[in-house]
C-alpha cells in the first residue's frame, strides 16, 4: 500500500466509480469520504451520526469491503469503486436487503438504516447463510436507537433467504 | 490535583529569592516555550506546545507573580487556554535558610484542568501535569546551582 502525501491546501481531483457510474469530484486532502459522498457527489443517503467512528451510520462499501466513511479520507477512494445505499436497487427493483427491512419493519426513524443495510450487504456477500449470532456480530458496529435490533435481524434473515434463492441478485462486482 | 516538591541550594534564601522573583528569568524555564512577551514585572504571556497523547497543540498562558514576601514566600498563578481546554495552576513557594549556609525551596502546585483534554484524557492528566510542573522546577534548580 503506497502512502498518499499531499500539501494541506491542495485541491485533489478524484475519479471513482460510484454505484456503477464514473464520477469526478474535488476534495481537500483532509476531507472525509462521508462528506465527499454527501456534499460533492450529492448522495445524502449516507449519514453522519457521530465523530468517534462508533455509530456506523456512514457505512459504505469501498472496493468490495464495508468501511465507515467517516474514518476514510476521500483521497483514499481515488480510483476505487464505491457502493452506497443509493446503489442497492437495480433498475427500480429494490434489493432484497431493502425489501427485508421494509417487510420486517427493520427501521423506524431511518437514520441508521443505510449504514445498517450496507453492513448487511457486506455480511451476506461473505456469508450467505449466517446464524443469528453472526448477523448480530456483523452489525455490532452499527448503532440503532429506535428498533432494539430484533426486527433488523429478521430483515437480514429475510434478505439472506431471498438472495440464496433468487439467482438474479447474485452479485457481479462491488 | 496537588503536586509538591523541594530542592536544596548552596545559595542563601535571599539569593534564591532574587532569582525566582524575577519574571524574565523564571519565564525562561517554562517548558515547550514557543513565544514569550514580558508585560510587566508581574505578568508574562507565553505560547507553549502542550497536550496529552494525540491531543496536542498550542496553549496560551498568562503567568503572573501573585505574592511577594522577600525573602521567604512567593506565589505564581498560571492561567492557560487552548485545545478546547483550560488550565489553572496556583503555585506557592517557600524559602527557608539552612544552618549550613544554604537554603531549601519547597513548592506546592494546585492544578486544575478543564475541558476536552480533561474529559477525554482524564487518566493521563495527572501524570502529564506533574511532569510539566516538575520540569519547570528542575530547570530553575539547575540555574540556581
Amino acid at each position: 500500500m503506497t502512502a498518499l502525501i499531499y500539501p494541506a491546501d491542495a485541491k485533489v481531483r478524484l475519479e471513482l466509480t460510484v454505484n456503477g457510474e464514473r464520477r469526478v469530484g474535488e476534495a481537500e486532502p483532509r476531507m472525509l469520504l462521508v462528506h465527499f459522498i454527501r456534499e460533492v457527489l450529492g448522495l445524502t443517503g449516507t449519514h453522519v451520526g457521530c465523530d468517534t467512528s462508533n455509530c456506523g451510520a456512514c457505512t459504505v462499501v469501498l472496493n468490495g469491503r464495508a468501511v465507515k466513511s467517516c474514518t476514510v479520507f476521500a483521497v483514499q477512494a481515488n480510483g476505487g469503486s464505491l457502493l452506497t445505499v443509493e446503489g442497492l436497487a437495480r433498475k427500480g427493483r429494490l434489493h432484497p436487503i431493502q425489501e427485508g427491512f421494509w417487510e420486517k419493519h427493520g427501521l423506524q426513524c431511518g437514520y441508521c438504516t443505510p449504514g445498517m443495510m450496507m453492513a448487511a450487504y457486506d455480511l451476506l456477500q461473505k456469508n450467505p447463510d449466517p446464524t443469528e449470532e453472526e448477523i448480530r456480530r456483523a452489525i455490532s458496529g452499527n448503532l440503532c436507537r429506535c428498533t432494539g435490533y430484533v426486527k433488523i435481524v429478521e430483515a437480514i434473515q429475510y434478505a439472506a433467504q431471498k438472495l440464496r434463492s433468487d439467482p438474479s441478485w447474485r452479485s457481479g462486482g462491488d | 490535583m496537588k503536586f509538591e516538591g523541594s530542592y536544596q541550594f548552596p545559595k542563601t534564601s535571599s539569593e534564591v529569592y532574587s532569582y525566582i522573583s524575577n519574571l524574565r528569568r523564571v519565564s525562561e524555564c517554562i517548558p515547550d516555550l514557543k513565544s514569550l512577551e514580558i508585560k510587566s514585572e508581574d505578568e508574562a504571556l507565553a505560547t507553549v506546545t502542550a497536550g496529552i497523547g494525540f491531543i496536542r497543540g498550542d496553549f496560551n498562558l498568562r503567568f503572573n507573580v501573585t505574592q511577594r514576601s522577600p525573602h521567604t514566600n512567593l506565589g505564581y498563578a498560571v492561567h492557560g487556554s487552548g485545545l478546547g481546554s483550560g488550565v489553572d495552576i496556583s503555585i506557592t513557594v517557600r524559602l527557608v535558610d539552612l544552618s549550613t549556609g544554604g537554603s531549601t525551596l519547597s513548592w506546592v502546585a494546585d492544578t486544575k484542568v478543564v475541558g476536552r483534554v480533561a474529559s477525554m484524557a482524564q487518566g493521563m492528566i495527572s501524570s502529564q501535569a506533574e511532569k510539566i510542573i516538575k520540569q519547570f522546577f528542575e530547570c530553575l534548580s539547575q540555574r540556581l546551582r
Partner: protein
C-alpha cells in the same frame, strides 16, 4: 355484495408507507438540506463549567479564510436575544455576555463557507475566562453558601413541588406494621438519537420571511415562541420539521444553535446551516433523569400496601428548560402510586440549578413517569423481599382490580381502564414463572446467582385535557385536517411530528378505518407550520391519544357530510342510508350503494342543493382525560460471580395500549424502548467531576447497546380499550422505557438478595457488581 377493497385499517400489520424513501437513502433530514449560498455555523464552547468571561478576541477568527461572520453574546444583546424564555417559563442564555454556566456551553458562533473552514476558525477565537467555583451536586447546590449558578436568581432553588396528602400519608406510615425505605439515584443519561441536533435557517429579506428547517418535535410551539421573541410576525415565520433521525424528547428543547443560525442568516442574508457534531451534542443538549430520591413504602404484615412517600432532589442544570405542562414542574411524577390501590401518598421534589446543561425531561420519560415507575416498582420489590412474599403475589394482591375502573388514585388521576392482573398473569405464564422460581431455588443451593425481576407499571400519556394541561399557556390539544379530493384521494395534516413512530402509516390506517379508503390513497403530512394545523407536537406518547383521536373525529365529521351527499345520490332519505366501511347503501337494498369515492366526486360536481362543495374537516381534539397504558415485564438474569457481568437470559414484555392501530409498529416501539431501558440499567451514564468536567460526552465513552448484547425481546399483549378515546387506543411509545429499568434492577437485586443486598444504583456495571460480591465475600476468582 361485491368485494370490499383492502384498506389496511385499524389492527393491520401493514408495511410502513414512509419506509419507501428511507430504504433508498432518500429521506430528507436537516443535514441533507442544501440551499444556494448556504454557509455553516459552528461554536466555540466553554471548557469551564463556571467562569466569568473577561474578554473575547475574535479578530483572528474574523480574518480566517472563508469566515463570513462571528457572533458573540454582545451582538445578540441589542436584539434582546442574548437570553430567551424557556418552555418552562424560565429563561436561558443563547450566548453569554457575563459568564458561562456549564462546560461545553456555546460561547461564540462562527459562520464560514464550509464546515471545515468554520471548525478551523473556531480554534482561532480567544476567550479569556476567570474560573469561578463550580457546583455539581444538586443537593449541595441547595445548601447555604453554595456558589450561585444564576446571577438573576438569589439561590439555586428552582422549585419546590408537592403532591398528595402529607398528614394522611404520615399517619398511615406510623400505623403500618412494615415500612421499607431506599435511597436511590436515577443516573444522568442522554437520549442519543442517531441524528444530532441542527437546523438550516434562511431569512429572505425581500419577502421578510424566516424559514427554519429544524430538528424539532414541536414545530408550532417553536414558531409561536420565535415570533414573540424576534418580533417577526408569526405569519412570516415557517418552521419545517423534516425527517427526524430520532427525537425521544431531546428535540423538544430549544437550543442556542437555532437562534444563532437565524440571527446569522438575518445578518448575512444567506442560509445558515448548523449541525452538531456528536461530541458537541452529547454534553450540551438535554440530558434525562439525574434524580436523587428517598422512597418509602408502608404495609400491613399481611402484605396490604398502604402508603407511599418520596422526597427528592432533581438536577436541572443551569436553565430550567423542560417542556413541562406548566402546572407540573416535576411532570407527572404523582402517578407513582402505580398499579396499586394505595390509601395515601405524598411526594415532594426540590429542583436545583447546577453548572450543567439544561434538561431532565427527555429520553422517553412521559414527563417523569420513568422516575415514578422506578420508585414504586423498586419499593414494591423490596417490600416483597422484606416480607418474604413472592413479588408477583404481592403485586397481584394489591393491584387495582378491573371492576374499580375508572379508578381515582389518591393523587387525583382518574385511570381510564386497566387489567393489571391479566397482564402479569400472562407474562408469568409466557415466561414459565413457577418453573423459574424452582430453578432459582436449586441454583441458590449450588451458589449460583440467578434473579427474576418484575415491573408492573401504569403509564399516563396523552397530554392533555385543557382543564389541567398547558405549555406556556398553550393548551395541549392536537389536530387533524383531512381533505378528500374529487377522485377520492386524501390529504391529511396533523399538528404532531413523528420522529420514527410511523405516523404516515398509522394515521392513514385510522382514516382508512373511518372512511373505508385504502391507505395507499391517503397522504399524511406533518411538520410544516405553513400547512399543518396547530399542534403541540410528538413527545410523551401523546400522538395517538390526541392527534389520532382528532383524525377519528374529523373523519366522522366528513362521514356525516358524506352521508348527506350519498342520500342525495341514492335519492333516499338520510335515515335510510347505511354506512359500511367505504360505501353507503340503502337500508334493505345493499345492491344500491355509492362508494365514498363516488361521494367525493359528487362533493365537487353534484352536491345537494344548498350544500357547500368540498369534502373535508378539521378537528382540534381536547382529550377528556389522559390514557393509561400498562403492562407487566419479567426479566431473568444470571450474574457471573467472577466478572460481575449480568446476562439477561430472558425478558418477557406484556403491554396493553388499548386498541392497536398497527401491531408491527407497536412491537417496534416496545423493542426500542426495552433496549433503551437495557442501556439505562446496564451501561449508560453521563457523570461530572468536581471541576465540572463531563465524562461520557461522546459515543466512545457513552455506551449504548449494540446488536450483540441486546437481548432477544419477547413481546405479547393484552387489550383493554380506553373508554374515552374515539378508537379505544392509548399511547405506547414510551411504555417500555418507563417500565423496564425496574425489571432489570429488580432481577439483579433478587439474585443478590440472599447476600444482604437491597439495592444497587444503575448502571449495573460489572465492576459494581463485582465489588459488591467481594464485599459480601461471594466473588469467585477462578
Amino acid at each position: 355484495m361485491t368485494e370490499m377493497p383492502v384498506i389496511h385499517g385499524m389492527g393491520s400489520a401493514v408495511k410502513r408507507k414512509e419506509d419507501v424513501r428511507f430504504i433508498q437513502g432518500r429521506g430528507t433530514y436537516v443535514d441533507d438540506i442544501s440551499l444556494p449560498g448556504m454557509v455553516y455555523l459552528d461554536f466555540v464552547r466553554s471548557p469551564y463549567a463556571h467562569a466569568r468571561i473577561r474578554s473575547i478576541n475574535t479578530e483572528k477568527a474574523k480574518g480566517a479564510p472563508g469566515v463570513v461572520a462571528v457572533i458573540t453574546g454582545k451582538d445578540l444583546q441589542p436584539l434582546g436575544l442574548d437570553w430567551i424564555p424557556t418552555l418552562s417559563g424560565d429563561k436561558m442564555m443563547v450566548l453569554p455576555t457575563e459568564k458561562v454556566v456549564f462546560q461545553m456551553q456555546e460561547v461564540v458562533g462562527v459562520v464560514a463557507e464550509s464546515r471545515y473552514a468554520a471548525a478551523d476558525a473556531v480554534k482561532l477565537v480567544e476567550v479569556d475566562y476567570e474560573p469561578l467555583p463550580v457546583v455539581i451536586d444538586p443537593k449541595k447546590a441547595l445548601e447555604e453558601g453554595s456558589p450561585i449558578v444564576r446571577e438573576d436568581k438569589r439561590t439555586n432553588h428552582v422549585f419546590h413541588w408537592e403532591a398528595g396528602d402529607r398528614e394522611a400519608t404520615d399517619r398511615l406510615f406510623e400505623q403500618a406494621d412494615v415500612v421499607v425505605g431506599q435511597d436511590m439515584y436515577y443516573q444522568r443519561i442522554h437520549v442519543s438519537y442517531m441524528e444530532p441536533c441542527g437546523c438550516v435557517a434562511y431569512y429572505d429579506s425581500v419577502k421578510g420571511t424566516l424559514t427554519i428547517w429544524m430538528t424539532t418535535q414541536a414545530p408550532h410551539v417553536v414558531r409561536t415562541v420565535a415570533s414573540l421573541i424576534t418580533k417577526i410576525p408569526e405569519n412570516k415565520i415557517r418552521i419545517i420539521s423534516p425527517d427526524i433521525g430520532g427525537g425521544f424528547g431531546g428535540k423538544v428543547y430549544v437550543y442556542p444553535g437555532y437562534i444563532v443560525a437565524a440571527v446569522a442568516s438575518i445578518a448575512t442574508g444567506r442560509p445558515v446551516k448548523w449541525v452538531n457534531d456528536r461530541s458537541d451534542d452529547h454534553p450540551s443538549t438535554a440530558f434525562a433523569r439525574d434524580f436523587h430520591m428517598r422512597a418509602e413504602l408502608a404495609a400491613r404484615k399481611d402484605g396490604t400496601l398502604l402508603a407511599f412517600r418520596v422526597k427528592a432532589v432533581s438536577d436541572h442544570g443551569a436553565f430550567f428548560g423542560d417542556a413541562n405542562p406548566s402546572k407540573f414542574p416535576f411532570g407527572l411524577f404523582s402517578i407513582c402510586t402505580g398499579s396499586y390501590d394505595l390509601k395515601a401518598a405524598f411526594v415532594e421534589v426540590d429542583g436545583a440549578y447546577t453548572n450543567k446543561p439544561q434538561g431532565g425531561i427527555a429520553y422517553r420519560c412521559s414527563f417523569r413517569v420513568t422516575e415514578a415507575v422506578y420508585a414504586i416498582e423498586r419499593l414494591v420489590d423490596i417490600m416483597a423481599h422484606k416480607l418474604g412474599v413472592d413479588p408477583a403475589e404481592l403485586r397481584l394482591k394489591n393491584f387495582i382490580p378491573p371492576e374499580r375502573f375508572p379508578y381515582r388514585s389518591v393523587m387525583g388521576w382518574v385511570y381510564d381502564s386497566g387489567n393489571y392482573a391479566g397482564a402479569l398473569k400472562k407474562a408469568m405464564e409466557k415466561i414459565g414463572y413457577e418453573e423459574l422460581r424452582r430453578e432459582q431455588e436449586e441454583k441458590r443451593k449450588r451458589g449460583e446467582l440467578m434473579g427474576i425481576g418484575i415491573s408492573s407499571f401504569t403509564e399516563i400519556v396523552g397530554a392533555g385535557p385543557s382543564h389541567t394541561f398547558d405549555i406556556l399557556g398553550i393548551k395541549m390539544f392536537d389536530s387533524a385536517e383531512i381533505r378528500i379530493h374529487p377522485t377520492g384521494k386524501v390529504i391529511a395534516r396533523f399538528g404532531t411530528r413523528s420522529q420514527g413512530q410511523g405516523h404516515e402509516t398509522t394515521y392513514a390506517q385510522i382514516i382508512a378505518e373511518e372512511l373505508g379508503i385504502p391507505i395507499e390513497d391517503i397522504t399524511v403530512e406533518e411538520g410544516d407550520t405553513d400547512t399543518a394545523p396547530y399542534g403541540l407536537g410528538t413527545y410523551a406518547s401523546r400522538s395517538t391519544p390526541t392527534a389520532g383521536a382528532a383524525a377519528a373525529v374529523a373523519s366522522r365529521k366528513i362521514r356525516e357530510k358524506a352521508k348527506k351527499i350519498a342520500a342525495h345520490l341514492l335519492e333516499a332519505r338520510e335515515e335510510d342510508v347505511v354506512w359500511e366501511r367505504g360505501r353507503f347503501y340503502v337500508k334493505g337494498a345493499p345492491a344500491k350503494y355509492k362508494t365514498i369515492q363516488d361521494v367525493a366526486f359528487a362533493a365537487y360536481t353534484n352536491p345537494p342543493p344548498g350544500m357547500e362543495a368540498g369534502l373535508e374537516a378539521v378537528h382540534y381534539y381536547d382529550p377528556p382525560n389522559m390514557t393509561f397504558p400498562f403492562g407487566s415485564y419479567i426479566c431473568v438474569v444470571d450474574v457471573d460471580r467472577g466478572t460481575g457481568e449480568v446476562k439477561v437470559r430472558r425478558f418477557v414484555a406484556v403491554d396493553d395500549c388499548g386498541n392497536i392501530i398497527n401491531p408491527l409498529i407497536v412491537d417496534g416501539q416496545i423493542h426500542g424502548g426495552l433496549t433503551m431501558g437495557f442501556g439505562t440499567a446496564f451501561m449508560e451514564e453521563i457523570s461530572y467531576d468536581q471541576d465540572g468536567n463531563v465524562y461520557g460526552a461522546n459515543f466512545m465513552d457513552y455506551t449504548i447497546p449494540t446488536a450483540v448484547e441486546t437481548p432477544k425481546w419477547e413481546t405479547d399483549k393484552t387489550v383493554t380499550p380506553s373508554p374515552h378515546h374515539p378508537l379505544g387506543a392509548k399511547g405506547v411509545g414510551e411504555s417500555a422505557t418507563v417500565g423496564s429499568p425496574a425489571a432489570f434492577v429488580n432481577a439483579v437485586v433478587d439474585a443478590l438478595w440472599p447476600l444482604g443486598v437491597t439495592h444497587i444504583d444503575m448502571p449495573l456495571y460489572p465492576w459494581k457488581i463485582r465489588r459488591l460480591l467481594e464485599e459480601k465475600g461471594y466473588a469467585l476468582d477462578k
